[in-house]
């Protein structure tokens, strides 16, 4: 097998040397429990609070607004449930979101619907955007929460979060954003962006897995979902994952310090892929061309199915992902691609390539040379492609 080319950084990233080094002192040396009163514990506590300050400074937040969690999903769950129940206590049981959120958000909202909440799922347009006025029009007297992702994990579209936040601020509705794909990749500032609550995950920016952050603005009451000790001001019990937290803080600082250069590099590499792969006949770039994460490419190729494409690319050393949830146990095509209005037939044939600054131009050139061959081969054995070519079936893209 050829050398491995990892282009699935939206799924997870390799930990950076900085993140690994930042973790080491806490595995053996500074092993104390931050809740212990003795010196070993208090030493750990200092480090924990240092990490909190660092994370806060990277987000434009105050340290007391940072709550460490087990990751993005936990942060999403807690933020949404907390805001929903706070609203319900005042008779507000309406929530606004979009139809292409991550499942950590969508499934939480589905559960809340069963509990009697009403959710408006704003439809995104064909490039994955919504407008602030769509949000404004959907806000009602009884709206408890608006939760809209910062950038989409599959198609990379960046939403107008600052303007949506401004609408929510004006209407006095709590605004949460799942920023798992955005933080460390594009500029995010909770003050400038008018964000009340934000979720992030360390392993998306070269930090460790199993650790994340819920940012919750100081004037917003946060409810507890993991009961136990008084960690995280009683809002999230459990002895802190100090090694993970300190490693995350270092990874985030590193990502934010090098944001512009990393964005420029990823964009340059991304454009090689988009230009090269768009030459494949009956292919389509999904997501917005301009308002797009610098490292995201998502394409559909008509007449083939995504999983077989992925497996054959894997055999060539290219580790990518498919929008098709086929690989993850569901047979439905991606809800994100369907939300963008793609027909099922086309949505099945998707490929997501997500980059990191560690990728190289040589790797991009290899991908651009190999993907067309695999697409052509799969089309050669596809009865759907045969019908398309014979004109018995209409091309949709």
């Amino acid at each position: 097998m050829a050398k491995t080319i990892y282009v699935d950084n939206a799924a997870t990233t390799a930990m950076s040397d900085i993140a690994v080094e930042a973790m080491k002192p806490y595995l053996q040396g500074i092993y104390g429990n931050p809740s212990s009163l003795h010196s070993v514990g208090q030493r750990a506590k200092e480090e924990l609070e240092g990490a909190r300050e660092l994370v806060a400074s990277c987000l434009g937040a105050q340290p007391r607004e940072i709550y460490f969690t087990s990751g993005g999903s936990e942060a999403d769950n807690q933020a949404i449930r907390s805001a929903a129940y706070n609203g319900a206590a005042k008779g507000k049981r309406h929530i606004i979101s979009t139809n292409f959120e991550h499942h950590a958000v969508l499934h939480t909202l589905k559960k809340l619907e069963k509990e009697g909440f009403e959710v408006t799922y704003l439809p995104v347009d064909k490039s994955g955007l919504i407008t602030p006025s769509q949000v404004e029009e959907a806000i009602r007297e009884d709206t408890a929460l608006v939760t809209i992702m910062y950038a989409n994990n599959e198609v990379g579209t960046i939403l107008p979060i600052r303007q949506i936040g401004a609408v929510c601020r004006e209407k006095k509705v709590t605004f949460h954003t799942d920023a798992v794909q955005a933080v460390g990749h594009i500029p995010v500032d909770v003050e400038a962006d008018n964000i009340d609550m934000l979720s992030l995950s360390a392993h998306k920016f070269h930090g460790p897995k199993g650790v994340g952050v819920l940012y919750c603005r100081r004037n917003i009451p946060l409810r507890t979902f993991i009961e136990g000790g008084a960690q995280e001001k009683g809002k999230r019990a459990g002895t802190e994952n100090l090694a993970g937290i300190c490693s995350m803080a270092a990874a985030l600082k590193d990502a934010v310090d090098h944001l512009s250069e990393n964005m420029a590099k990823e964009e340059r590499l991304r454009n090689i892929l988009i230009e090269g792969l768009s030459k494949i006949p009956h292919s389509k770039l999904n997501g917005d061309r301009q308002q797009r994460l610098p490292g995201n490419v998502n394409m559909c190729f008509e007449g083939i199915e995504g999983e077989s494409l992925l497996l054959l690319l894997d055999a060539k050393g290219i580790c990518a992902s498919s929008g098709s949830a086929c690989t993850s146990g569901s047979l439905d095509p991606s809800h994100v691609l369907l939300a963008l209005g793609l027909p099922h037939e086309v949505a099945h044939g998707s490929l997501r390539l997500s980059l990191s600054p560690d990728n190289t131009e040589e790797e991009m050139n290899y991908i651009v040379s190999e993907v067309p061959k695999v697409v052509e081969y799969l089309r050669s054995i596809s009865p759907v492609w045969e019908e398309l070519e014979k004109g018995e079936r209409c091309h949709l893209i």
Binding site: G303, I304, E305, G306, E307, S308, L311, L312, A315, S324, C326, T327, G329, S330, L331, D332, P333, P343, H344, E345, H348, I381, S382, P383, V384, W385, E386, R393
Partner: protein
Amino acid sequence: MALYSEKVMDHFTNPRNVGKLDDADGIGEVGNARCGDIMKIYIKVNDGIITDVKFNTFGCGSAIASSSMATEMIKGKPISEALTLTNKAVAEALDGLPAHKMHCSVLAEEAIRAAIKDYYDKNGISYDPADFPEPSEHEEH
């Protein structure tokens, strides 16, 4: 753990009997593009024996592997034997399929039946309709 058995990967990456038969005696097509799987099987029949078989498949790795394995299993066999091929036998021959991919082996069984039925219909050969139930509606997704 790998997603698929080595057998599945072998039949997926080096599929047997892939292609078309321009002079096919029977053609069976099942599945639909909306659901992400279409299997088309071509058979050549001589004296009740399936002398040649080819397939074209749009679908995931296990759909392509199931087509490949199923065509291997009926090639050179009498039609009567091909009609006894079950999806379970195809899946077992592949050293198993993940639970949510079992429908791929069902499609392979149905595609073969559809090709044989097409052969019978084209040649005016009578058959027991019970042998050819309507292909199962692709399960609700």
